[in-house]
Amino acid sequence: MTESTYRIQGATGEWEVVIGLEVHAQVVSKSKLFSGAATAFGAEPNAQVSLVDAAMPGMLPVPNKECIRQAVRTGMAINARINKWSRFDRKNYFYADLPQGYQISQLYHPLVGEGAIEIAVDEKNPEATKTIGIERIHVEQDAGKLMHDQHPTMSYVDLNRSGVALMEIVSRPDMRSPAEAGAYLRKLRAILRYVGSCDGNMEEGSMRADVNVSVRKSGAEFGTRTETKNVNSVRFVMATIEHEANRQVDLIESGGKVVQETRLFDPGTGTTRSMRSKEDAHDYRYFPDPDLLPLELDDAFLEDCRNSLPELPDAKRHRYENELGLSPYNAQVLTAEVETARWFERLLGEAAKAQGKPPADVAKQAANWLISELFGALNKLGIALENSPVTPEKGAELLALIGDGTISGSIAKQVLEKMLETGDGAAAIVEREGLKQESDTGAIEAVVAKVLADNADKVAQFKAGKEALFGFFVGQTMKAMQGKANPQVVNELLRKALG
């Protein structure tokens, strides 16, 4: 367990920051939480609105089992208690984006109880972890969206999002720095994406956070917190905390008091401003929704949820280290995003097949190539891994050529570039470009002899003790053979020739 050393330096000394996050994650499901309307992002305004979503008179909500299933699976993925008996409550307030005049949510009896997530604050040191408690996950309806730019004096309402299922994932106030909050969000997003219960796309608003921040002197009671609503990127969440913590310290040290209030983050200035204070807070008049019966889950349903869970990032990372022999860093990089892990596992499977070896024997080669070669090349081209023209199958073909000595690692770099350019297979490129590695001892011996003869002065210096010149001879030999010589053979023959 690592302890955060993050502190705000105030005039009166150091201040500790206490952070809790309420993350709203849009559930991946074809239809909404209580209606059959579609949930796809980007549809024409009001094209995905059922009579229920528009709260027409006499319309009734019917729970969508798939949304419940996704929330239960998410709860299981954070090792949380799943409540077999839960209930929906109405949260009453008036707003034009809320057709029913209430949001169906879960206040008194949430679907998911206590759980936890392990985060690693330092990417380079994935073993140094900290556990962040999760208080609960409840399921609720999203609201619609107001559009203020369609008419000079009127606002328009788009109800496409109205009724879409959200999971509200409420953390304990266990985070102590912007970095921890960032790590928590990234880890949570990774888990959601592994589980497939939320796409984690913060730009499209399918994941957003309410950021609770307070400050205190080390060891003191929690201070009064503020809640900054609807922050929609990891970077903004970190900026919110940074700004809010400093603002609170300045306020307290100049004799003021932090008031419990709701604030808004302005991405333009990186600052927060007050939205409404506790005094103006709504009285939501929560009460059990009489249109819905309590949600009772049976063992078969829970078993089905559990069986449908994939291997989760922590388990995968440990397996990569223990069974595949990857370094903690590589294992961390490959498991941080589900797409990367999937890509890697396909590459590993194909590579093992192509080389006729068990996966553990090709894992390091595959991991190193993916992380240091393909990631870099794609990065330069600005292409995401999912869209890579070099597929895992094609990557495995390239790895096989390296593995059996057909090409050297440096030639492989050239081949990869050509593959990315043309989309052709590695073997075809090696054949066409004549890049096949020369391992024939005789041919290499002849070149070595010529290199040594041409550089008799350097040979003399080498023999006189300037051993660093060995690299020069290797380079000259490789250059003479257009890089195609097997470097191991070149090394051996040079050592022999130089005695």
Binding site: L51, A54, A55, M56, P57, G58, M59, L60, P61, V62, P63, R90, N92, F94, Y95, A96, P99, Q100, G101, Y102, S155, V157, D283, R285, Y286, F287, P290, D291, L292, L293
Partner: protein
């Protein structure tokens, strides 16, 4: 041949099937009655004679083609204007929904049309089903076809909230009508007008497409001339609906076929808590008559205790307004219905203006009560406490039904009162539901059957409450009373 409008559901269904008359003739006869009574009784908000004729012709065509007719084949009915009807204005008798024309049909009304019924029109009611006299309707109160025998001709209340339904059935404007019952809204108006009405077990009839008042209590049911007609119509209305999460996933029994007035082996419970101090003497007498009739039908009659009865009405007037305050939040002027947008108004101003203009006084009163009892600091003292009372009431019934099969009680504490009598005193108005509300809170099937006339010549009803899902037991006890009461009175036509 009797006049067609004197016929009930079974008689029309059978007569059409046999070819004694056509469904179109029936529809025309009732259409004429509807039109002739509208100015005097104001039972309908909208008449739909063309719909009645179209449905009747469809039934006649089916018969001509030799096809089977539905359970309600050829029967025109009135539809309480709380049920959404596609293409026909649906208002809940509120200004806020005036002009609202749904693009959807409520499950219950659709089932009735599928069973061969036709629509004579949308019936008046208390606004959002909140009221016991029909005086809260935005479209003017319904006037009962009944008059006291004192020659005073004071306009009487038809009961509420299904007052359009009760007036129309008793005045022969329709052979049957739909009602909804949240705290007595089928049973009390049925009692006031000398007709029969049953509220089935909560969940029997889908609530989908019925404008919500209090979701945990609202339940649709039939209002008709007699028990058999109610059984027939309830069969057509009931059934599981996946669109209503509180709908009962159970088969619909063949209630009509199961009708039997032989109560041998049955035990009837008489709840002593319902016998209140200062009870109306005629009501008390009709209750005693009911006991005698049920004994005559073979039942054993015992005293039972429902100890928490006196807490039922206060609990109801917390729970129902609480749910209503939330259910009615959707009428905000944004998407449909009335919008009052004063010059330069913002969103909050629009809400305030729209809801101030759109809701009637009684609706506002209940929204205020409901908002209050749910608000922070009061929730536990009111809402939580009321839910506990509700549980205790249910337990009272569960315990009672270990001793008896059905419970007999008066439907309402008095016969129909004159319009205006209670309008300025909401508490005495609320007391009308004192006998009806316990069964609503417990979700039990309960019906009202006519028992006789009081000394003023006005009908009195008896209420039968049954076990959950035992509509048959309730209907059978109702039939036994009906056969012995011999209630044949009908309002003298003065309109």
């Amino acid at each position: 041949m009797t006049e067609l409008t004197e016929l009930g559901v079974a008689a029309i269904r059978d007569g059409v099937a046999k070819g004694d008359f056509t469904a179109a003739e029936v529809a025309e006869a009732f259409n004429a009655n509807v039109a002739a009574a509208q100015d005097a009784l104001n039972a309908f908000i909208v008449a739909t004679p063309d719909k009645a004729i179209a449905a009747a012709k469809a039934t006649d065509a089916k018969r001509a083609a030799g096809e089977a007719l539905g359970k309600m084949g050829g029967v025109p009915i009135g539809m309480k204007d709380l049920f959404a009807t596609v293409g026909v204005q649906t208002t809940a008798a509120s200004h806020i929904l005036e002009g609202f024309v749904p693009q959807y049909e409520s499950t219950v009304s659709q089932k009735l049309w599928d069973a061969g019924a036709g629509m004579l029109g949308k019936l008046n009611l208390d606004q959002f089903a909140m009221g016991s006299s029909n005086e809260t309707s935005y479209f003017g109160n319904v006037i009962s076809p009944w008059r006291r025998n004192d020659g005073g001709n004071a306009p009487l209340a038809p009961g509420g909230s299904s007052g359009g339904s009760s007036a129309a059935v008793s005045a022969r404007l329709c052979p049957a009508a739909t009602g909804t019952d949240t705290g007595g809204s089928i049973r009390q108006p049925a009692a006031f007008t000398g007709i029969t009405g049953i509220k089935p077990t909560y969940g029997r009839c889908s609530r989908w497409g019925i404008v919500a008042f209090a979701s945990s209590l609202d339940q649709a049911g039939p209002m008709a001339r007699d028990t058999r007609d109610c059984a027939i119509m309830l069969e057509a209305m009931a059934g599981f609906d996946p669109k209503d999460a509180t709908s009962l996933d159970m088969p619909v029994p063949a209630w009509e076929a199961g009708l039997s007035a032989d109560l041998a082996g049955k035990t009837v419970g008489i709840p002593r808590e319902y016998r209140m101090d200062g009870m109306d003497a005629d009501v008390a007498k009709s209750w005693d008559d009911g006991i005698a009739w049920l004994k005559d039908a073979g039942a054993r009659v015992i005293d039972i205790a429902l100890p928490h009865t006196r807490y039922a009405l206060p609990a109801y007037y917390i729970i129902a307004p609480a749910e209503a305050s939330s259910n009615l939040a959707r009428y905000d002027g944004v998407r449909y219905g009335l919008r009052d947008l004063p010059d330069g108004a913002g969103l909050q101003d629009m809400y305030a203006a729209t809801r101030a203009a759109g809701f009637g006084a009684e609706v506002k009163r209940r929204i205020l009560i409901g908002t209050y009892v749910l608000s922070a600091g009061f929730y536990d003292a009111y809402y939580t406490q009321a839910q506990k009372v509700r549980t205790l009431i249910s337990r009272d019934f569960t315990a009672a039904f270990e001793q008896c099969d059905v419970i007999l009680a008066p439907t309402a504490p008095s016969a129909a009162f004159a319009l205006g009598d209670n309008i300025d005193d909401p508490l005495s108005m609320y007391l009308n539901d004192v006998f009806a509300v316990p069964a609503s809170l417990a979700g039990l099937p309960a019906m009202s059957v006519p028992a006789g006339l009081n000394r003023e010549g006005l009908p009195l009803g008896l209420q039968i409450i049954g076990r959950p899902f035992d509509e048959q037991g309730v209907l059978n006890a109702g039939l036994a009373i009906e056969q012995r009461a011999g209630f044949a009175a009908k309002p003298e036509k003065w309109w």
